[in-house]
């Protein structure tokens, strides 16, 4: 490589050095490593993919994006904080490597082949970032640009997916004879849909099939799309485009990232870019390109990242806060917000009837829905991918805390009329949904700590005992376990208000009771 090669330098230092006890080796060749490239540098061994991912992140942050905002904060030890302005908002100087969500989340989306929505005002780099991800997949910039779908009010299904060949339309004797000229973008490993909220509703349904089921259909002909990462952009995420975005399509989006404002303090960098006519996407170093096989392998490695029980329990506890709606169902299992929503009744009326609980303390009162299975799966995979990106083998609570707001941003809907939002200190959460979700998770963790569930979780113990299997469990032991479950339920419901986590505990105990009851019946039949 030329010793002076603009935009093509990648940090040679580990991007996230971690202390490990391993035998010390001092290679005399290190004497000649330094700022001047000799051109005879030894060929590096196969690079770890997590390191390559970090290299890609830092190249984008340092070269492609002019003013990154470090909003994914990590700390090692105490950090410096400042209370700023009349509102006393906290400015934190993180004491550990922190990241910009606008780059990091799309990168994690790329490597996990999920779907990412960029939201924000015009001209904030949403499309440019999506194009960078396309280039990262190895596609030429020109192809990425050409394959990008631009939403507009006249967009038809044929515009989106492809046209039947006119000659076949005339000559075909049956539908199978009609060949389709599929649009090239369907075969791309990174798919970009710009301003997706300007696509007409009918065309959105066709898009939903491609996004959800990974195939396209025109006149009975099927095109199977490759596994790919998706990037969509919208000027806002509330469906405020030309057309209302259908709920199913919104639900298919895994993470939502917000393009933050440009800091004019970086204007000089912008000026240089204009004067020198630089387009970062055209200068991405080849070493950063991920082949299809590498993305497969990275995905496999991400799935192997462990979610420790102590982290998983906190996520279970958090999610259990939101689904309960005590007055919505007469039967225990149906006391959920979903039941309330499906009934079509006025939300305000239903909420007014739900009294007796501390609505300020109950986190469930802050939302209008619960967390879906799809959201949970997305949350887990993004937490794993963030841990992988940071070079860890297991997910830390902070990883979960950082990705959670971006996954649930458009999924967990706040009830703005809830008492929590009427408190002056919480007023900002009405508009700052990311901040609210993070706060919600923190409050859930506080409650988890207060209940000392890390050490005292009898439901978890019963579940763990059941997970060991029923082989060789005697009738006597089974009866004893049933008794314990019944006693625990009796203890839990005695004189207590019903909160979300208790509701889920009771349902879990009911499940265990039913499994033991069935097993007992089988034992007795032997």
């Amino acid at each position: 490589m030329s010793p002076f090669n603009i935009f093509n330098r990648i940090s040679q230092a580990p991007t996230n050095p971690r202390p490990v006890v391993k035998p010390r080796q001092f290679d005399v060749a290190a004497l000649y490593q330094g700022p001047v490239q000799s051109g005879a540098a030894a060929v590096a061994g196969e690079q770890a993919l997590d390191e390559k991912l970090r290299q890609a992140y830092f190249w984008i942050v340092n070269n492609a994006i002019i003013s990154p905002h470090y909003d994914i904060e990590y700390n090692e030890g105490p950090s410096q904080t400042y209370a700023v302005g009349d509102s006393k908002r906290t400015l934190t100087l993180p004491s550990a490597q922190s990241y910009s969500s606008f780059i990091l989340l799309p990168l994690l989306t790329f490597v996990t082949r999920k779907k990412c929505l960029f939201v924000g005002g015009p001209g904030r780099g949403k499309t440019a970032s999506a194009i960078l991800m396309g280039v990262l997949s190895g596609a030429p910039v020109r192809d990425v640009r050409r394959a990008m779908q631009h939403g507009h009010p006249q967009m038809t299904i044929a515009d989106l997916l492809g046209n039947p060949l006119p000659s076949d339309l005339m000559a075909a004797q049956n539908m199978d004879d009609i060949r389709i000229a599929w649009r090239k973008w369907l075969g791309m490993r990174v798919k970009i849909v710009d301003e997706y909220n300007r696509i007409p509703t009918r065309t959105q349904s066709a898009l939903l099939t491609v996004m959800g089921d990974n195939y396209a259909e025109v006149l009975g002909q099927i095109f199977e799309c490759p596994e790919s990462a998706w990037y969509l952009t919208a000027n806002d995420d509330q469906g405020g485009g030309t057309y209302q975005v259908i709920d199913a399509l919104r639900d298919r989006i895994d993470v939502t990232v917000q393009a933050l404002a440009f800091n004019p303090r970086f204007l000089n960098d912008l000026l240089v870019r204009i004067e020198e006519n630089i387009r970062p996407e055209e200068l991405m170093p080849r070493e950063l390109i991920f082949t299809e096989e590498e993305v497969d392998r990275a995905g496999e490695e991400i799935r192997q990242i462990e979610v420790p029980p102590e982290v998983r329990h906190r996520l279970e506890f958090f999610c259990s806060q939101f689904e309960l709606f005590e007055t919505a169902g007469a039967q225990f299992e149906y006391m959920t917000k979903d039941t309330a929503r499906l009934s079509g009744m006025d939300w305000g009326q239903l909420v007014a009837a739900d009294n007796g609980r501390d609505r300020l303390k109950d986190l469930g009162c802050q939302t209008m829905n619960g967390v879906s299975v799809r959201n949970l799966m997305t949350l887990l995979i993004f937490a794993k991918s963030l841990a992988y990106f940071r070079g860890n083998k297991s997910v830390e609570l902070d990883d979960l805390r950082q990705v959670l707001p971006f996954v649930l941003l458009d999924k967990l809907h706040p009830d703005i009329d809830a008492p929590f939002f009427s408190r002056p200190e919480n007023a900002a959460y009405k508009t700052d949904r990311l901040g609210w979700l993070r706060r919600l998770f923190d409050l859930s963790n506080d409650e988890f700590n207060r209940l000392d569930l890390d050490r005292d979780d009898p439901v978890g113990e019963l579940a763990a005992e059941f997970a060991q299997g029923l082989n060789d469990v005697s009738e006597r032991d089974t009866r004893a376990r049933l008794m314990r479950i019944e006693r625990l339920i009796g203890d839990r419901v005695k004189g207590r208000k019903l909160y979300g986590h208790l509701y889920d505990d009771l349902l879990k105990l009911k499940y265990l009771h039913q499994r033991y009851t069935n097993y007992l019946k089988w034992l007795r039949s032997q």
Binding site: P3, F4, I6, P19, V21, Y32, G34, P35, V36, A40
Partner: protein, 332 residues
Amino acid sequence: MISGPFAQVLAAGRSQFNARVVEARRRYPAFDVQALADFLQDGVAPVVQAVSAHMPDRLAMIALTAYDIALDLVGQAFTGIGARSKIVDRVWQELLPAYIHILVNAPTEVFALLTNAALNIEKTSGARVDQWLSEMKNIAPLITTLSVLQATGQVLAWRAGMTHFREGGMAIADTLPPALSLQMLGAEAGSDWQLIKKQMQQDPWWCPDIKQMNVNEHGISIGHFTGLGGAFPAPPELRACEYGFWVKSADRYFLLMADVYGAVLHGASQEEFEHGPVLTGPVAATVQGSSLLTRRGKHNLNLPAKELVLTCNLHTVAVSSPYTYGISLYPL
């Protein structure tokens, strides 16, 4: 003022050279154009001048290579008013002209080897870059190929106090012509290289250079208080290990290595200090009053005897105390 052949090369490729400066300014916002001008005049021009005398047909190519590297060095503030030291200037002014006979055939490699090596030695606490520069310059007439230059630089770096290169340096010296190895290590001409090598392997505190032996026979002091430019924020604690010593000072951790050529401190982790492999064995030194007694002799310790700590590995005793931020090392 740049003149002569280099000026002609610059004039001929003026637009190309100017474009490279524009690129550099874009990459390095604090790029100092004056520093570039100075470095071209004081660092690059002498090299180009020497090339012009030695192999004029390689002049343009070498000038272009040197120019690109100069841009990088200026951009990263390795030269100029804001430079951390003058070492890069010294390498280009003093050392590179001595290796023109190799440089003309492998310019990028020679520029990189010598510049990077000098920077690495200079930033290693305890290493002696002046000694390395001087010895590299003196031995230049004996070096005829790039590979020998590379090996020579490494052996002399070890000799200049890069103690962690001991094993590698010894292995490399073994591949060189014995006469060259003997000369580099300060042995008398005609000595038996195999014998010398064996003795050096057995005793890290022995070398064939009597002058060097005398320097460190009386101990090496390393560390010292961070407030006075040292490495330790608190009096250090030590654990002996096969490489040397694990050192803890407040919340900072180091690996201390020493031999006859000097001592160096490398960064280490808490895990290494607490869980890294350690050596345990009898302490092969004693303290009598204010003196340390080893089998090699008696050393005066300028420390209170109270709470003095002796930590020994196979060849070295490290003396530390709660009353000092430094560590004194003596051969056993």
